[in-house]
Every structure is written in C-alpha cells, then in structure tokens.
C-alpha cells in the first residue's frame, strides 16, 4: 500500500513550523506506524535531507516516549494503543495521514514531532511520592490492603506519562496525569499520610507549569493509551476538598 503523509516540521521552539508532505510508496500493512516513519527517514537520509525527528523508545507501548497526534488524535485514536503499537493495516491504501506533535504551552517543541515534557516532571517532583527512606520500612505485609483498593491503585498507576491527556485536552490540562498519581497514592495507607500536602502541591505545580484547568471534557480518558479513567480526576477533586478543609 501507499500513503501520503503530512508531517509537522519545526526546527526548534522558536521556529515557525509548517506541514510538509511526503509520498510513501511500498508500505507493508504489517508495519507499525513508526516503522513506516523509519522508512520515510531512511529515504530522506539517503537523499541527504534532514530526517523527521520523533520520540520513541520501547516500541511496545509502555515507556511513554512516543508522542504524535495522528489525524487529529493523540496516538491515532485506536483504543488503548500508543503510536508505536499502531499498525499500518489500520489505514486505507492511499490514505492521507496528518502527523503532528503534542501542542501545549507547557510542551515546547524541540524539533519536528519531539516536544519537551519536562513540565510533567515538575508535577511529579512536587509530590508524586511517599516520603519514605531507603531501608527502615515496615514489612510488606505489615499493613493489609484490600484487593479492591490495590486494584484501584493499580488502575491509576497504569499511567505511562506520555502526555496524551494534555495533548487531547482542549484546555491543555494535565489533570488526568496529576489525578492518576494523587489517586494511586491517596487510597494506600502508605500514601494517605501525605495525601493533603500532595494534592495541593501537585495541582499547584500543574498550574505553575502552564497547564490549563480541567473543564471535564473527558477527552483525556478517550485518548489515553492506557485507558486511565477520569474518575481519578474526581478523586483528586475530592482529595483537594478534604485538604482545603484541613
């Protein structure tokens, strides 16, 4: 099959950026989307032209490195699928495909499809942890944790930190990312201790980093490659109100 790509090319955060078109012949339907881009880059490199920069690493849908808006949807809109797990058989022969980077004030473009997601790190650093020391902790079984609670916590912990929630949000809000971590820790006895401080610090950091406010569009859940549920944002709101009352 063959496809026509429209790819965002931008040579740094201060460059204007533009869409460029590439005809891609000989695409195998078994190829992953990134392997198809590899082929485009191979042809560009052979030609001595600047290759398309895109973030990728594990290529098995868990590292959260890949970050492309494909045809207007982060990760391409296949349910629970990252770009690296998206395969060309999902596209029709001759399809036109638009490939763009995450776009948000908090995510400046580094080059082409690569953005700087350092703002997400700052949210985590503000409180996405329990302040336990290495060593000197209680036995793992000292505090029983109900299976339902452990499962709830794990559901929240599935977040891979890719930033699709921000990219899909009309407000560029990072509330699903923040909520997932707040919720994961807030239900566990180990995380409850600092729950109030954590929710305040993390939501404040999200604001400082220039993310927008959540207005409940729920686009984040729809485009999340791990299907992280917006109930964790509700949980964050609940935790926030509890913290306010303190």
């Amino acid at each position: 099959m063959k496809v026509k790509l429209h790819v965002w090319r931008q040579n740094g955060p201060n460059d204007k950026g533009t869409m460029e078109t590439y005809e891609v012949p000989n695409v195998s339907s078994d190829q992953s989307f990134l392997e198809m881009l590899d082929d485009v880059n191979l042809a560009l490199a052979k030609d001595g032209r600047d290759v398309i920069a895109f973030d990728h690493d594990c290529r098995e849908g868990i590292c959260g490195m890949c970050s492309q808006v494909i045809n207007g949807v982060p990760h391409g809109g296949q349910e629970r699928t990252t770009v690296c797990q998206l395969h060309m058989r999902e596209f029709e022969d001759g399809a036109e495909i638009f490939v763009e980077p995450w776009k948000a004030r908090a995510f400046p473009v580094i080059k082409d499809l690569v953005v700087d997601r350092g703002a997400l790190e700052k949210i985590m650093q503000a409180g996405g942890y329990t302040s336990c020391h290495t060593g000197g902790v209680a036995d793992g079984n000292a505090l029983p944790i109900g299976k339902d609670i452990a499962d709830y916590s794990m559901d929240a912990a599935e977040c891979i930190g890719c930033g699709a929630c921000v990219a899909s949000c009309p407000n560029s809000s990072a509330m699903l990312y923040t909520g997932a971590k707040v919720a994961q820790l807030a239900v566990l006895p180990q995380g409850k201790v600092e729950a109030h401080k954590r929710v305040m610090a993390m939501t404040e950091a999200a604001k400082e980093q220039g993310f927008g406010n959540c207005t409940n569009h729920y686009e984040c859940q729809a485009s999340c490659p791990k299907g992280v549920n917006v109930k964790f944002i509700a949980k964050l709101n609940r935790e926030y109100m509890k913290a306010l009352c303190k």
């Binding site: 429209h6 409940n216 686009e219 944002i233 509700a234 609940r238």
Partner: protein, 222 residues
C-alpha cells in the same frame, strides 16, 4: 486564597455557584409553570413573592453574587485555558467532548446577555412598557397579562428561544460537570450523569420555551 486562585479551587467555585444557578432556574421554572394553571395562579405566586419583602432582596443579592462569581471565574478560567494552548494542531478530532462542552463560554455569555434582556423585559420593564397592566392597588402588575402581551411580538419570542437553547447547551454539560468537579462521580455514575445532564437541559428547554410558544399558538391567552 487556595480556593480563589488555584486550578481546582476555582473549579469548585464554578461548581458551587453552578448548583445555585441551576437550582434557581429549576425553581424559577416551577414558579413560571403556574401560568399554565391560569391568571390567578401566577398572580398569586407573584404576590406571594412580593410579600416576602426584604427576603426577596436578600435572595436577589445572593443570586447576583453567584451569577457574578460564576461569570467572572468562568471568563478567567477560559482565558487561562486558551492561553495554555497558544497554537493548535492543524487537524483536531475530538473523541468524547461535545458541542455544549466546547462552547461553555459562548453559551455562558449569551445567557448573560439573555438575563440582562430578560430583566429589562419583565423585571425593570423598560423594553416593552406597553405590556404592564396594574393589578390591585398595591403597585402590583398583572403578571399573566404581562407574559401574554410580552410574547405577542416576534422579537422577544425569538430571543427567548435562542436564550433557552443556549441554556440547554450550558446545562447539558454543566450539570454532570459539577458532580465530577465536586468529586461525586465515578466510572459507573458518570455515564448516567451525562444522560441525566442532557435530560435536565431538555426539561429546562421545553419547560421554558413552552410558555412563549403556547402564547404564540394562542393556547395561553387573555
């Protein structure tokens, strides 16, 4: 400070004032529906309200405050949210959100304009001074006559239809949204609340526009 400056805090303010406003439109609709019973019913209702005296003013001030806060924070949050995405993708495909959710600021501002018009129309009585007929000797107005006469011309009817359509849009997203914001939803209740939210919007829309429409079609008449 947290409440009025933070991201989640202001959301909560939006939700709480939203509750006040949505409660008001529901109660207002209930009151208005006395017009279906007849002239005496709605005039009695109006008289009852007037008899509350200073409480009416307390109520009005509370409403005004909720309304103002809702609008001010709404505008502020919207501006922030727009600034958070200075440049958008060339292609944007939304998977979940709807027209109502994406146009909250538009529907909100239209509703503000509508409320101003509505107050001028029926409360301050400046747009159509010819519709007011005195009732009794205590300075009361015949509300029933006012409503019927008020919807005799095309412009107010159209404006009310438009205004209430935006109310539908606004409430159909806003109602479920406040449950999420106040942390009252989960994965099971959220889809239900989304449907309920649309239903509330429809009920308000149908309830409110039925009055001008019934007047237009002559089913409510003097």
């Amino acid at each position: 400070m947290q409440l009025t400056q933070s991201s989640v805090g202001r959301k909560i303010i939006m939700a709480v004032t939203g509750i006040v406003l949505v409660a008001f439109v529901c109660v207002h609709l209930l009151g208005n529906s006395s017009v279906f019973v007849g002239a005496n019913a709605i005039n009695a209702y109006a008289e009852k309200l007037h008899s509350l005296g200073p409480f009416v003013w307390v109520f009005r001030l509370v409403m005004l405050a909720a309304f103002a806060i809702h609008i001010i924070f709404g505008i502020q949050l919207t501006l922030e949210n727009r600034a958070a995405t200075p440049e958008r993708n060339v292609q944007i495909k939304r998977l979940k959100t709807g027209f109502g959710a994406e146009t909250m600021i538009v529907s909100g501002l239209v509703l503000l304009a509508f409320v101003i018009y509505h107050l001028l129309h029926f409360t301050v009585r400046v747009t159509n001074p010819d519709i007011y007929v005195p009732l009794g000797d205590q300075g009361m107005v015949d509300v029933y006559v006012m409503v019927v006469k008020g919807f005799k011309s095309a412009l107010p009817v159209i404006l009310y239809l438009v205004g209430m359509s935006f109310l539908f849009l606004h409430v159909s997203h806003g109602f479920q949204s406040l449950f999420q914001t106040l942390g009252l939803s989960n994965d099971k209740s959220l889809p239900v609340m989304e449907t309920v939210s649309k239903l509330v919007g429809v009920v308000l829309l149908v309830g409110y526009i039925s009055i001008p429409l019934l007047v237009v079609f002559g089913l409510i008449k003097i």
